[in-house]
C-alpha cells in the first residue's frame, strides 16, 4: 500500500504529508493547471477519503486535480509514477515509464529534494536537466533534431507584426456582421436602465433606455503548414499566429505536416521561453513531408465538431505541395467548408513570378475555398487583410 513505502526512520506522518502535498506540484510540473492551494486540498481530500485504499485515493484526486480531458487521460500514469514504487506499475505506459524508473523506492529522498525550486515532485526531480523530456516521453535528441524555435522570439519585426495583428484584431472586433445588419430594426427596452433614468424626472420614465445589442465575433481557425517546402515561411506565420492569439481570445491554431497538432495553448503561454519549450515538444516531424488531406481528415474527426461552427473563419496557410491523395483533400476540405463560415487559403508562393497554383492539391482545393490570397511577408499580409476581413463578414 501507499504508506508501506515510507521510511521508518523519520516521522512517518510528516513524510506522508510531504509526499501528498508534493503531488500537486508534480502535476504542475507536468503541465497541469494545479496551483499552490491545491496541495492543501489534496491533504483535506485525503483526510476525507483515507489513504489506505489506493483506488479511492486515485479516483478522488483525479476528480480534484484534473481540469480538462487530456489531463484526465494522463492522470493514471502520473499517479502511478508518483505514488507507486517502480515494480508496482499498474497503469504506467511508456511515456512515464522513464520517470518512474528513476524514482527512489518510497519517499526516502523527500528531504534532499525539496530544494529543487522548480516544483517537480521527487518522482522526476532526480535529474533536473532531463526532466522536461522525461515527462513528455520525447528524448532530448529528438527535440534538438526537430527545430530551432529561437527564431520565434527574435526581436526583429516583432513590433511590426504585433502592430499589424492589433490592427487586424481591431478591424475584426468592429466588423459589422451580416447577421447584425439584418436585425437592425427592433430595439429592446432596457427596463432597468429606464427606471434608473426616471429617478431624475421624479419617477416618470421620460427618457427610455435601450438594450445594447450583443456583438458576436467570428472565431478564427488557423491551419499552418510547416512542412519542408514551407520552411522559409513557417516561423513568420507562427509569429503572426502568436501575435493574433494575444489580441483575440477566440483564435485556434494548428500546425500540420504529416500530422496535425494544436499549438494555441503553447503560443498563448505568457513566458516566451516556456512557449518555445512547449513548441519543441509539439513539433516532432517539423519540416518533413506534407499530407494535407490526411491532416484535415484527422482534424475533422478529432477537433472540428468542437471548434468549427457557423461563425468560424478557417484560414489555411500552405503552398499546396502535397504528397497525399488530392481526392481525399477535396473531400475533407468540402467537409470542413460545410461546417465553417468561410475558408481562406493563403499561399505564400502565389505572388512569385512564374508561379501558378497548378499543383494537384491546389486544383482539388480551389472549388472549396472562398478566397485564395498571397502573403509571403508582412507587406503582403497587410495588403490582403482587407480582403480577408471582407470575406469573413
Amino acid at each position: 500500500m501507499l504508506i508501506a513505502a515510507a521510511s521508518p526512520a523519520a516521522d512517518p506522518g510528516a513524510i506522508l504529508r510531504a509526499r501528498l502535498t508534493g503531488f500537486a506540484g508534480f502535476l504542475h510540473a507536468n503541465g497541469y493547471g494545479t496551483g499552490g492551494a491545491d496541495s492543501v486540498r489534496v491533504l483535506e481530500t485525503s483526510v476525507q477519503t483515507g489513504i489506505l485504499d489506493q483506488q479511492i485515493l486515485r479516483w478522488s484526486l483525479k476528480a480534484l486535480l484534473c481540469g480538462r480531458g487530456d489531463e484526465w487521460r494522463r492522470f493514471d500514469g502520473l499517479f502511478d509514477a508518483y505514488f507507486l514504487p517502480p515494480n508496482k506499475k499498474i497503469f504506467v505506459d511508456s511515456n512515464v515509464g522513464a520517470a518512474a524508473g528513476r524514482e527512489p523506492p518510497g519517499g526516502m529522498r523527500e528531504g534532499n529534494e525539496s530544494e529543487h525550486a522548480d516544483g517537480a515532485g521527487p518522482g522526476v526531480a532526480g535529474d533536473d536537466a532531463d526532466t522536461d523530456t522525461a515527462r513528455h516521453g520525447a528524448s532530448r535528441e529528438e527535440s534538438l533534431a526537430s527545430m530551432d524555435f529561437r527564431e520565434l522570439n527574435q526581436a526583429e519585426h516583432a513590433r511590426d507584426i504585433e502592430a499589424l495583428m492589433r490592427r487586424f484584431a481591431m478591424r475584426l472586433k468592429h466588423l459589422h456582421l451580416r447577421r447584425e445588419a439584418r436585425f437592425h430594426h427592433g430595439r429592446r427596452l432596457d427596463l432597468q436602465g429606464t427606471i434608473r433614468q426616471s429617478v431624475a424626472s421624479g419617477g416618470t420614465p421620460l427618457r427610455l433606455a435601450w438594450k445594447e445589442r450583443r456583438r458576436v465575433r467570428p472565431r478564427l481557425l488557423l491551419l499552418l503548414d510547416v512542412s519542408r517546402s514551407m520552411s522559409s515561411y513557417s516561423f513568420f506565420y507562427l509569429r503572426l499566429a502568436r501575435a493574433l492569439c494575444a489580441e483575440l481570445a477566440d483564435v485556434h491554431c494548428f500546425i500540420f505536416h504529416t500530422r496535425i497538432t494544436g499549438v494555441a495553448e503553447a503560443l498563448r503561454d505568457p513566458d516566451p521561453w516556456r512557449s518555445q519549450e512547449r513548441l519543441h515538444l509539439l513539433a516532432a516531424g517539423w519540416a518533413g513531408g506534407t499530407r494535407i488531406g490526411e491532416c484535415l481528415r484527422d482534424f475533422n474527426r478529432d477537433h472540428a465538431a468542437r471548434l468549427v461552427h457557423s461563425r468560424t473563419g478557417v484560414i489555411i496557410v500552405s503552398d499546396g505541395y502535397d504528397t497525399g491523395e488530392p481526392e481525399l483533400l477535396a473531400r475533407e476540405l468540402a467537409a470542413l467548408r460545410r461546417r465553417s463560415r468561410r475558408m481562406v487559403w493563403l499561399n505564400p508562393l502565389l505572388n512569385q513570378p512564374g508561379f501558378s497554383p497548378e499543383s494537384r492539391a491546389m486544383q482539388a482545393a480551389m472549388p472549396h475555398i472562398d478566397l485564395l490570397a498571397p502573403g509571403a511577408n508582412l507587406a503582403g499580409i497587410e495588403h490582403v487583410l482587407p480582403q480577408i476581413i471582407e470575406v469573413l463578414r
Binding site: 493547471g33 477519503t49 485504499d53 479516483w59 484534473c66 481540469g67 429606464t194 458576436v216 468542437r306
Partner: protein
C-alpha cells in the same frame, strides 16, 4: 482490503443504479467528494454519454429538488440569476404616489423581495433543503456569464445591488456539464471537481440497456450493444450515444425484431434512423455493411 470509504462508494453506486444510472466507481467517488467538500462537479464528454443524467440521478438519490439552468448563447444575468419585476414596480410607484410614507420607506418597499423574480441560480441558493443545481452545457454561454458564475460557485452568494448580498441558505450540489464547444476558463475549472465521461465499455452499456429496457431479452440486449459498439468504431460524423442505443432498442422491440442477424438486415436498416443521425453517415450504411456488422454480433 476494503475501507469505509470504499463501502460508501459501493453503496452510492447501488443507489444510483436504483435511480436508473449506471455509474463507474470513479464517478461515485467524485460525487462523494463533491458532497464532502461542497464543490461543484464539472462533467465533460461527448454528446449522449449521460452527463445530464448524473444530476437527475443524484437528485433522485438524495430526494432533492432538481433545478436546471440550460445555458445558451446570449444567456445573461437576468435570465439566470434574478430580475426585478419592472411592470409591478412601475405599477407600485404609481400607486404609492399618494402614499404619505417617507420616500426612503417607499423605495425600500419597491426594492423588496416581493418584486424580485427568482431565476434558477437565485432559486438554488434560497431553497430550505439543498437542491441539485444542474448548469447544463455551460460552454454555450459566453465568458461574461462564466464570470458571474464564479462568484456564486466559490462563495455561494450573490450580490444584488439594490438588496445587498444574498447568502445561500443551504449549499446546493452543483453539477456543470460541458460539451467542449468552447474552452472554459481556468478559473472555472479550478473551482470545480472534474469528471470526464467516455463512451461506455461493453459491460457498462449492457447494464444500462438491461436497466432501461428490461423487455429486451438477454440475447437481444447483448447483440444491440455489440452492434452499437462496432458502429462507434466506424468513422462517423456523429457517433451514437447511450440515448441512441436505447432509442434503437425501443425501435427494434417495436418492430418485433428479437434477434439481430444478417438475414434481418433489411428490417434493421429501417430502424437505423434511431441510431445514425446524419445523412452522410446514413449513406455509409448499405445493406452489406449492416449484414456484416450483424453477422459479427
Amino acid at each position: 482490503m476494503t475501507t469505509q470509504r470504499m463501502d460508501e462508494v459501493v453503496a452510492l453506486q447501488l443507489q444510483l443504479e436504483g435511480a436508473g444510472y449506471v455509474a463507474e466507481p470513479a464517478l461515485a467517488a467524485a460525487l462523494l467528494l463533491m458532497m464532502d467538500l461542497g464543490r461543484p462537479l464539472l462533467v465533460e464528454g461527448d454528446a449522449g454519454v449521460g452527463k445530464t443524467e448524473i444530476a437527475k440521478a443524484l437528485a433522485t438519490v438524495r430526494g432533492a429538488r432538481l433545478i436546471r439552468l440550460q445555458c445558451y448563447e446570449g444567456l445573461d444575468v437576468h435570465a439566470a440569476m434574478y430580475e426585478w419585476n419592472y411592470q409591478r414596480q412601475l405599477l407600485a410607484i404609481k400607486l404609492l404616489e399618494h402614499d404619505e410614507r417617507p420616500a426612503a420607506v417607499k423605495e425600500q418597499d419597491i426594492f423588496s423581495e416581493r418584486y424580485l423574480l427568482k431565476r434558477p441560480l437565485l432559486e438554488a441558493i434560497s431553497c430550505a433543503e439543498p437542491p441539485v443545481l444542474l448548469i447544463d452545457e455551460v460552454d454555450r454561454a459566453d465568458e461574461a456569464f462564466e464570470a458571474y458564475l464564479l462568484e456564486l460557485l466559490s462563495d455561494f452568494q450573490m450580490s444584488i445591488p439594490e438588496l445587498g448580498t444574498v447568502l445561500a441558505v443551504t449549499r446546493p450540489l452543483v453539477v456543470i456539464t460541458s460539451n467542449g464547444t468552447r474552452e472554459l476558463s481556468d478559473a472555472l475549472r479550478r473551482r470545480c471537481l472534474y469528471q470526464y465521461i467516455d463512451y461506455p465499455v461493453f459491460a457498462k452499456e449492457l447494464a444500462i440497456v438491461e436497466i432501461k429496457a428490461p423487455q429486451a431479452a438477454g440475447q437481444l440486449a447483448r447483440q444491440v450493444v455489440e452492434f452499437v459498439q462496432s458502429v462507434r468504431r466506424m468513422d462517423l460524423q456523429k457517433k451514437p450515444g447511450i440515448a441512441e442505443t436505447l432509442d434503437w432498442t425501443a425501435a427494434l422491440l417495436r418492430m418485433g425484431i428479437s434477434v439481430i442477424d444478417d438475414d434481418g438486415a433489411e428490417r434493421i436498416l429501417e430502424t437505423l434512423s434511431a441510431l445514425v443521425k446524419t445523412r452522410e453517415d446514413r449513406a455509409g450504411f448499405t445493406r452489406e455493411v449492416v449484414a456484416r456488422i450483424a453477422a459479427a454480433c
